[in-house]
């Protein structure tokens, strides 16, 4: 069983500015990975998704990669 990345690294708040961490959960097209693939808890997956969306809005992450 895959362990939750955020609880393993003791991350309580998923920040939209930490793009190096957020990039781990994007596929090559820039889409957010499925929770089955990420192995993240449901609560953290929801927070992760909103963090990625905030980062996209400010141009830190792409909406899609061609």
């Amino acid at each position: 069983m895959k362990q939750d990345y955020f609880s393993a690294n003791n991350i309580k708040y998923i920040d939209y500015k930490d793009i190096e961490i957020l990039k781990k959960f994007l596929n090559p097209n820039g889409k957010i990975m499925n929770h089955k693939r990420t192995g993240v808890t449901s609560k953290n997956q929801r927070e992760l998704a909103s963090a990625i969306k905030h980062a996209r809005f400010l141009g830190l992450l792409p909406f899609m990669v061609k």
Partner: protein
């Protein structure tokens, strides 16, 4: 009595205040020398709305992940780079709406948002974890070096033992 009431009001305001984070992109047409001025103005604006600054970062120029468009006073402009910065502050919930309306009118902003957030510094903790993981790797390399020395000592002992065996 008035001072008592003022004090009560202050306590109420503190109870209503929350931690917010303002993330923003400033237009790249601002010169690098002038960025400090607009950064200072933004801080003053937050303070004027009764906010207290918790932490912040100076706006830095970044290349955007995609081209942004903005229409300001009938002029359409495209941006591939912008100054990205953020400020964490505590403020009354109603004042934040006023602050948002004020920033909406500012032509220096490409985009911005205001989030509810935690007071603790969230980025530094993550960097520390990553640094730790890097340090963990280095001792394993040293250990392999130590093992070689141990093996060389063992060889002499083994030779002596073999000599002893042959003698018997």
């Amino acid at each position: 009595m008035e001072s008592m009431q003022d004090a009560e009001k202050e306590v109420e305001q503190n109870a209503n205040s929350r931690v917010y984070e303002l993330g923003y992109l400033l237009v790249p047409t601002i010169k690098e020398e002038d960025i400090v001025i607009s950064y200072g103005n933004l801080k003053e604006l937050i303070l004027s709305f009764g906010g207290e600054i918790v932490s912040d970062e100076m706006p830095k120029i970044i290349s955007l992940a995609y081209t942004m468009r903005k229409v300001a006073s009938n002029v359409r402009s495209k941006f591939n780079t912008a100054y990205f910065g953020w400020i964490k502050f505590t403020m009354n919930a109603q004042k934040v709406l006023e602050l948002k309306k004020k920033i909406d009118l500012d032509p220096n902003f490409v985009r911005f948002f205001i989030l509810k957030t935690a007071k603790e510094n969230t980025i530094a903790a993550k960097r520390f974890v990553r640094g730790n993981m890097v340090h963990r790797k280095s001792p394993t390399i040293k250990r392999s070096g130590d093992n070689k020395e141990v093996i060389s000592i063992n060889k002499d002992e083994i030779d002596k033992e073999i000599d002893a065996m042959v003698a018997v």
